[in-house]
Structure formats: C-alpha cells, structure tokens
C-alpha cells in the first residue's frame, strides 16, 4: 500500500488565459476578466489515466490518498473512481497558499511516499517550502509558468511517471524549483529565480559496463562523477578562480571539495578553498579584477534549459563579459539533459547571447571525463 498526498491548486493557470503573467495575487482580477478554473480538468486527465493504468496491472499497488476536501483534491479523486481517500485539510474559500502549506505539512507528517500536485511553479514553490527534499514531488502541469524540473510533460505522461514510481521502476533525483518573480515579471522584466531543490521521480541513467550488463546509476552517483571531474580540474589549476553557480549539480562539487557551497548562490573557489560565498555583482567584479584567470561553472536550471537567464541576478552581461564567454564550463546530468534537449542563454544582451551560443553547440560535462555536445538555441 502506497500513500500519495494529492493537491490541486484550483486557481492555477487562470492568470495565463487572460494574459496575466501568473495568478499569484491577481486571482480576482483574472476572474473579472472572465478566467475559468482549468486545473481540475488537467488533474482529472492524469487521475483517469492513472486509474486506467492501474486497472491494467495485475495485483496493482493500491493507493491510499491523502488530500484536501472539495475542489482542492477530494472531488477529483472521487470523480476518477478512487475510493481510499482521506481529506486531511479543509481549505478556506477561496483557498490560498496557506492551505497548500498546511496540507503539505499534514502529508509529510503522515509519511506519504509521493506528493502529486496540480499547479505551476508557484504551487511547486509553496510545496517545497514545507516538503523540502524529504518527500518526492511530481507536478501535473497546469500553471501559467512551469520552469521547474518537477513537472511531467503532459497530464497523461505524468500518470506514467506515477505508475513507474509506484512499481519501483523509477528512482528519484534532485530537481530545481524555479519561479519568476511575478511582480517584476508583470512590470515587463523577465526574472527567473531558483528557489528550492526538490526530489522528483526520474528515469535512471543507464550506463553500459559490459556487453550484457547495464548499470542504473543514481542521480547522486552521476553528480558525484561530474564533481570528481571538476575537482581534478580545480586541483590541477590552483591559479584559476573557479566561480561555482547555483543548483544542486554544481553544489555537489562543493561537497566533494569539503567546502560550504551555497545551493542558490554563486561561490568562488581558489586552490580548493572558498574565497567568496553567495557573491553579489560587486563581490564578483572585485574577485574577477584580482584574478586574471577564471572559470565559471554553471548548470542549466529547471526544465527550460537556461544556462543563464535574466533572473540570474549577479551574473549580469557585464560580469559574463568580464569572465569571458570561453571560460564557462556547463555541467548537467544526462537525466536532466533528457528533459532539456536545448540549452538557452538569455542574459538580456543579444550580442552576448549569440557569442555564448557560438556555432549552436556547447560541450557539457555529463560525467567523469565525459562531455557531450548539446544544441544551443541561437
């Protein structure tokens, strides 16, 4: 018997349909503009597919559902024909982010195996603020923005991931939870930020070790390999200033170096020692001026493949130019590249983006002494 915590953000996606760039804080305006709730329809699609898939499997893993009452979960589950449903939270009307966090707290306390939610980046962010990396989360895509790496590509494909995970076929991996700063976005500024690391079900990375043998490397194993690769570069080049960007893949380098690398910030390493932590623009410029040889290590964030986005605040076009387009090392696990076949640079400076994209392909470190040429959006 597996326990799944299930939650629908009933207002998710409403802002998008009426041209608002998100729904946070503008739900009333969206309704005035005629927006209709659609999240429950997406959730219904996934639940129906899930129900269908489980019916086709002999001895299916029975699911005990924990959810919120009414339109935040229970209604959709009952409509899909699931009966082992326990409502652990009764949301306010209209529901708010507080209802999400309260429900997630109940799910986590009850020891659920997976949190399945229907929403967008904002919902993912609210969930992670409570669940952290304690419970894997998976999103049915229904929001205005879905930059985070925790969403299935479609409502039905999300059901495949749930069955695969329940059957023990999929492992879990760390993924980035990103969101736009909606206030800045509505003012016309595109600003994406990495907010949290989350756990999510992932196809394992297969590597062939012998003709008949295939290893399923865990996400942590692959990150460790990437970290080992970079560690050797750092050790071999004590005079080079390494600037380590945000995200869990780059953070694993810090772990291997036994230094305190921040998850969300940009940290500087010289000769294996941290010489700057969570640097801002000023701090970066200061270090760059003092170190003629430097290298910036970045991993594409979220599911959109942005190696550099406008929200990557301290890494302004000026800073990137000062570091030099040739001095950027991109790292990513093969599992992440599976979901991000195209890398993107969007620094807000078109000429710089073109220089970074080069001839449309970029070598990406995907393992120990393993690099793959990956297409870049030009």
């Amino acid at each position: 018997m597996k326990k799944i915590g299930f939650l629908i953000n009933p207002i998710a996606g409403m802002g998008g349909t009426v041209g608002l760039k998100g729904t946070d804080g503008v739900v009333e305006r969206a309704m005035q503009l005629g927006a209709q709730p659609t999240a429950h329809l997406k959730a219904g699609e996934t639940l129906a597919a899930l129900r269908h898939q489980l019916a086709g499997t002999p001895g299916p893993p029975a699911i005990a559902w924990l959810t919120c009452s009414g339109k935040m979960g229970a209604d959709a589950l009952h409509a899909a024909g699931f009966d082992d449903v326990e409502a652990v939270h009764a949301p306010a009307e209209p529901p708010t982010a507080k209802d999400t966090t309260a429900a997630i707290r109940r799910f986590v306390d009850a020891g659920v195996d997976l949190i399945l939610f229907c929403g967008g980046d904002g919902t993912a962010r609210d969930i992670c603020s409570v669940a952290g990396t304690r419970v894997p989360i998976l999103g049915i895509p229904a929001g205005v923005k879905m930059y985070s790496g925790v969403f299935g590509v479609s409502a039905t494909r999300t059901a495949d991931i749930v069955t695969g995970y329940l059957a023990g076929r999929l492992g879990t991996a760390e993924a980035d939870v990103l969101d736009l700063d909606e206030v800045r976005y509505r003012e016309g500024e595109w600003a994406v930020r990495l907010y949290h690391a989350a756990l999510t079900p992932y196809e394992p990375t297969y590597t062939q070790s012998q003709k008949m043998l295939i290893d399923e490397a865990t996400d942590a194993d692959v990150k460790q390999e990437i970290a080992q690769h970079l560690l050797e570069e750092i050790e071999a080049n004590p005079e080079i200033l390494f600037l380590l960007g945000p995200g869990s893949t780059v953070q694993s380098i810090g772990t291997l170096l036994e230094v305190d690398k921040t998850l969300l910030g940009i940290d500087a390493v010289l000769g294996g020692q941290i010489v700057g932590s969570d640097l801002n623009e000023r701090g970066l410029l200061d270090l760059i001026e003092r170190h003629p040889r430097r290298r910036l290590v970045l991993s594409p964030i979220g599911a959109q493949g942005f190696v550099l986005g406008r929200g990557n605040r301290p890494l302004t076009p000026e800073i990137i130019r000062a570091i030099g387009a040739d001095n950027i090392t991109v790292v990513a696990t093969p599992a992440k590249l599976e979901r991000t076949p195209l890398l993107r640079f969007d620094t807000g400076d078109a000429a710089l983006d073109a220089a970074l994209a080069g001839d449309g392909f970029l070598p990406v470190v995907i393992g120990y002494r393993l690099r793959r040429l990956v297409r870049v959006a030009v």
């Binding site: 297969y206 003709k211 295939i214 392909f361 393993l370 690099r371 793959r372 040429l373 990956v374």
Partner: protein, 487 residues
Amino acid sequence: MTEPTVYELSAAGRCGLALPEIAVPKTNLPEALLRRDNGLPELAQRDVVRHFLKLSQHNFGVDSGFYPLGSCTMKYNPKVCEDAARLDGFAASHPLQPPETVQGNLALMFELQESLKEIGGFAGVSLQPAAGAQGELTALLMMRAWHADRGETQRRQVLIPDSAHGTNPASATMAGLDALEIPSDTRGNIDLEALRAACDETVVALMLTNPNTLGLFEEGIEAAIDLVHGCGGLVYGDGANMNALTGIARPGDFGIDLMHYNLHKTFGTPHGGGGPGAGPLGASAALADYLPGPIIARCGEGAADDGTCRPVMPAKSIGRMGTYFGNFGMLVRAYAYIRLHGTEGLRQNAIHAVLNANYLRVQLADRYPVPYDRRNMHEFVCEGRPDGSEVRAIDVSKRLMDYGFHPPTNYFPLIVAEALMIEPTETESRETLDAFADAMRRIADEAIGDPDLLRAAPHTTPVGRLDEVRAAKQLILCDPAAPDTED
C-alpha cells in the same frame, strides 16, 4: 543450481580408478607426513564424468543454439579452423624460436596481414593488438604520435558519436585524450551539423563505427570524413561491424585512416572468456610507419624475394602492444577462415548477414517498435517493450531463454530506450530465424496477457533471474591458500 558439487557427491571410500599391483614392496609413509584433513572428494569415475558433462551442458554457446547477441557477431566457428590451430607445427612452436625455424608461422602471419590489407583497403596491418579495444588504444597512440610529429600537440579531443561502443570513450581516456560525444540525427546518423561545430584545431580524431551500433550505414560518411580531415584530424574506424562490409566496401577507400578488425567477429574465431583475442590494426599509407611491431616482412624484393619472412619494426613504430607475436592461435584460425571462404565467400557472408538481419527486422517490427526504421545492415535495434506493454527489454530477454534462445544485447545503444539489439549473422538458417521470430511474437502476446510470466523469467534454466550487475561488481572470492575460508 540443480547440480551438486563434487564434495556433495562424495562418498567415503569410493574410488575413481583401480591401480595396478605394485611390483616393489609396500612401505608406509612416516606418520608425520600424512595428512588426514585434505578434504578431497571421493567419487567413482562415472560420477566425475557425469558431473562435468552436466556442468558443460549448463553452458550456452553458438554450438548449442541461436545466439543473436547484437554487436558481437556470434557466428558459427568452423571446426576445420580449430583443427588448423591444433596442428603441431603451429600449436607446439615457441615464440622465442629463431625465425628460420618458424618460417611457416611467419608466412601465415604475412599472408594474413596481406589479406587484411586487401579486405580493408589499407597500406599496412599489424597483428599486435590482442583485442578490439586494444586496437582502438593502439590507433589513438599512433594518431597522437602522428600529430606530435607534425608539432600539433594542442590536439586533445576525440570525437565520438553517441551511438558508439562504450570502449571508444574508454580508449580515448586511456590514451590520455578527452572524449567529446557527438549526437545522432533523427535518421540515426551522426549529426553533421554538430560534427561541423566540433571540428577545429583541437581534434585528434573522430572514432566512427560504420555500420553504426544501430546497424545503420552512415549516410553522410563521406561528408563526415571530409569535415574531420578538413580540420586536420584523423578518422578511426571501429571495425566491430566489419561483417556487414567485407567484400562489399573497403573502409580505407572511403577515407578511414586506421581501423581494427575483430577476428572473432568477422573471421569466425571463438569468442568469450575474456580472450585470447586478436584485434589487428589496418593503417593508411600516411600512418603505416607508426604501426606497432613486430610486423612480418618478406626478406627480399622482386627477384631477391625467396619467400623467407622476418619480423621487423616499422620506421616510426609506437613500439609493442604485447609480448611476442600476439595471440598466434587466433591468427591461425582467422587465416584458415579467410582461405576457407575466399573472396567471394567472404562477400556472400556479408550479404547473407545483412539479409538475415533485415528479414528478422521485418518479421518483428509490427510487435517491437523499431525507432530508426530503415533498411539496416547486419543488425538492428528495436524497443523491447511490445505493443505498449509495461514489461521491459530485460524481461523479454530473460523469457527468450525459456524458448531456448540466447538473449539479444540489452539497453545498448544507450540512445534507444529499452533497446534490444539483434544480430543473427549469416550462419543461421531461415528455419532458425523463423523459430526465433515466432518466439518473439509469442513473448509479445505474453507481455500483454501475462506480464508477470516475463518478469519472473527465466523459468527453465538451471538458475533463475540473477542480479547481473551485483554479480559482476560484488565478487565473492575465496582464497585457495586458506581452505577453511568460505565466501
């Protein structure tokens, strides 16, 4: 295992053979020299013979059944080649014998070099490498030396398609170079746009398998080779799939600078057990001088050529890749195989290998999706997930064992999800191919109707489903010097 060990079969006092009466007076050994705890099993000769015969029957080989292990070219090994390798003159010679006493052996090696030059379109061949992967390493060391002689020591990158054999990046790393993976395009060819982006003054070589591991002929082979040569790089051919080309096309003719042959694939020498193998290396005129030695040369030229042979080192040789003359027994078998078939026979092998693989693809494609569905060469790759069922390639493979077939290669190449890589080779009859296709179709039915039957397979083998990765990585070893230690 159903077969007990000899220790379990042992019965006190049982004896395997009757010794003749002794002609000298019997003297007991001093008590102090006697061991009571040697723990040797006591069995009748009959028990010993039955025990080892049963164990041998637990093996599966090309001699016991169909073995469509993709990329391995598990063709039948003609027994006459074994006979040749066992001739006293070959089997009982010693590598330190003076050349004049082993002229027959040297002549065989010379002839084999000449045959391989002709088959691949190369100017020189070295028989030194002991296996395909060592052939790769040898080639990379030669290319490194070639670039170094031209003062181009900044060349460090080896370009490798994402469909390549895993040995390619491993060899590049072992040669101290950096591997860069190049993606495939939607038709399963190397992505020429990506290759163009990667070609610059840092490129040592492109390592290319043609046909590639999807069993597909590289449609842009000439453009790919031109791109690499254009930036001053070299092109290495992984000859693992040469069985599709022998007698049809010559890699040297389409611009491959170096290529190894897998004698156990293309030329029918036995596989397995980690050797002994042989991976001779062919080289273009520009690189032949760098080949590892010794290679075998005729003593004189023209009228002065009296047919005698001697080992020589090529002018700029990178040195030896092994002791003495490589795995000579394998060279004898391959030579016998080549002479047995002749030019037309080798060509027919390639044609029939391609025909058999296409026949199977067409038979199976409606049940097992083929992601790059175009005419294949000697092998093809399908998805081991019939008709959208929830079973996996590994389950299909394990179930095939219950039908008496060796599984295909699983999960390789890595660019196809749930890959099954099927290579029937030219040596199988239509009846065998039909029986295999029939089993695969029945398994596809089972995958829908009774998937758990597949998940628990195999059911008829001496042991059930094994954790192969764990078995290979967590070895349980015992120290023979410590007889009481178990596990």
